[in-house]
Symmetry: C2
């Protein structure tokens, strides 16, 4: 049994994700009020793992997670989960759709169901609450008529699911990471992702050089987010996700090259991909290619070859 922290409260999408990333039967799930609090608990060893959202197909990157990963004591991702974001409309048992005058949810969730509300509940007032779960809680208490919540909220509150599968944006997805202290690198599976943060010097072409180091080693980029650093004017912090595992020679070789080129490179973990899509590695960047080249060079340096 492990203690697993997550960005709470209970009944939100992050709880939905953490239930897939750990074992609801044997693990203890501990909600925290903010993303930095989850990361701080992982750093302090208060929890063994921490689950936070990192990327949302509708809203983009999650700034609080990006900052927590890039700054302070390092933490690493040991797993990811990609969740289809669909909301459930919850109401007290016996409430009909036509009786709903107030609908509560987190502002971002309200923004994602606005069209549906305008079409289906044109007379209802939308109330902003601190979380989708808080909305369900307040509906249970009788403060509002209905809540737009994560499906998992129905586990915690005795409310009726009036409508499921809500969301104006089809295929809205959120990606979650399970974080741990450094020293936890999952074994390669052949379908892995490696995440890192690179701070480049304030020079024309700095990002081009970084991406070129990856391209030279046939490393495929699956995500790139750019954010200005607050500390040093004109420098950017890049969040990169690439296909592959740090145990591979081509990934290690590229990371070492970035270390030479960048003001800072932070390893954010190698972990299995949710979609289990295998990474295809061919010549001239297989581990065998790197090994043969290393042996050839070593022989030259020993004076045994030319």
């Amino acid at each position: 049994m492990a203690r697993i922290g997550y960005f709470g409260p209970q009944g939100t999408f992050t709880e939905q994700a953490v239930r897939r990333l750990a074992d609801p039967e044997s693990d203890e799930f501990v909600p925290f009020g903010t993303i930095p609090a989850v990361v701080a608990a992982v750093r302090a060893g208060e929890v063994e793992r921490g689950c936070v959202p990192v990327e949302n197909s509708v809203e983009g990157a999650v700034p609080a997670t990006m900052d927590a990963l890039a700054l302070g004591e390092p933490v690493v991702a040991v797993a990811e989960h990609v969740l289809q974001v669909q909301f459930t409309l919850l109401a007290r048992p016996g409430t009909g759709l036509d009786e709903i005058r107030t609908v509560a949810s987190h502002p971002h969730a309200l923004a994602q169901v606005r069209e549906w509300l305008e079409t289906n509940l044109p007379k209802a007032t939308a109330i902003a609450t601190g979380s989708t779960a808080a909305a369900a809680k307040e509906v249970l208490a009788g403060a509002f008529d209905a809540a737009v919540s994560a499906p998992v909220a129905a586990l915690h509150y005795p409310l009726t699911e009036l409508v499921t599968g809500l969301g104006d944006v089809k295929d809205a997805k959120t990606r979650f990471l399970l974080l741990a202290k450094p020293g936890n690198v999952p074994a390669p599976t052949g379908a892995d992702r490696t995440s890192l943060v690179a701070v480049t010097p304030n020079e024309v072409g700095a990002l081009s050089d970084v991406l070129h180091e990856l391209a030279l080693r046939k490393i495929n980029l699956t995500r790139l987010e750019a954010r200005p650093t607050r500390e040093l004017f004109g420098t950017y912090r890049f969040y990169l996700d690439v296909e592959g595992h740090v145990a591979e020679q081509r990934i290690g070789d590229a990371l070492a090259a970035l270390h030479r080129r960048c003001i800072e490179v932070r390893f954010l973990g190698s972990y299995p991909r949710t979609d289990k899509e295998p990474t295809v590695v061919g010549s001239p960047t297989t581990d065998a290619d790197f090994e043969a080249a290393g042996e050839w060079l070593a022989a030259i340096r020993r004076g045994e070859s030319a």
Copy 2:
């Protein structure tokens, strides 16, 4: 006098921006209900210019604008404006801060003043409305006690400014573009920005190659947004902002190189930067360098030189 469309309604931040990008004395401002409607009106010649938000330092890129720029008949940006996002708390005259029980605004605005509301109006319920201006309108009608609005809303509604300069995130900024039909390229000022969309082939290193073409010509990137294309699996659409004007040789040469490399390159305009920061261009990428190289090559091709 020109007709200038903008993403409305009246009294929002886009109106605040359009009043800086055109002349409130002589131009006619026409609000549209959605960003695509503004862009469609520009395309149809219904308005001469259209003002839309493109980037927000808190929320990131504005997806509706990115899609409108990348797809459909081309439009180009002819000017930009960067606005400091600060909200004003509006109430009916005579209402005191301690009497406020309901605060209305757009969900995104509510998210940006959440901390302030929790600290200063802990008992008030936050109500989500379709826009920050709609909130002011409903306050005027007596439906809610206060609205979190753009400062410009006070021009349109006879409400009292209870608090100004609101916003949990200091230095929250939104960037707006003034769009026109292609054929409108403002003259270079020496402090210009050029925007473009590039769709790269689904190959390892495609983005690296694009950025390398820019770096080889000492072109500085000021923004990079990556979004997957919906049409073709595995391909990405990149939104690039660079320093410089399409009239410069180095910019033109780079654009032509991207045209060779990419599935699609769309020119989104060259226009003066809000911050008037001049672009420094040195050897070997000045217009004179390009001209000398062109003359040298032409002489070789004519057989006059070697």
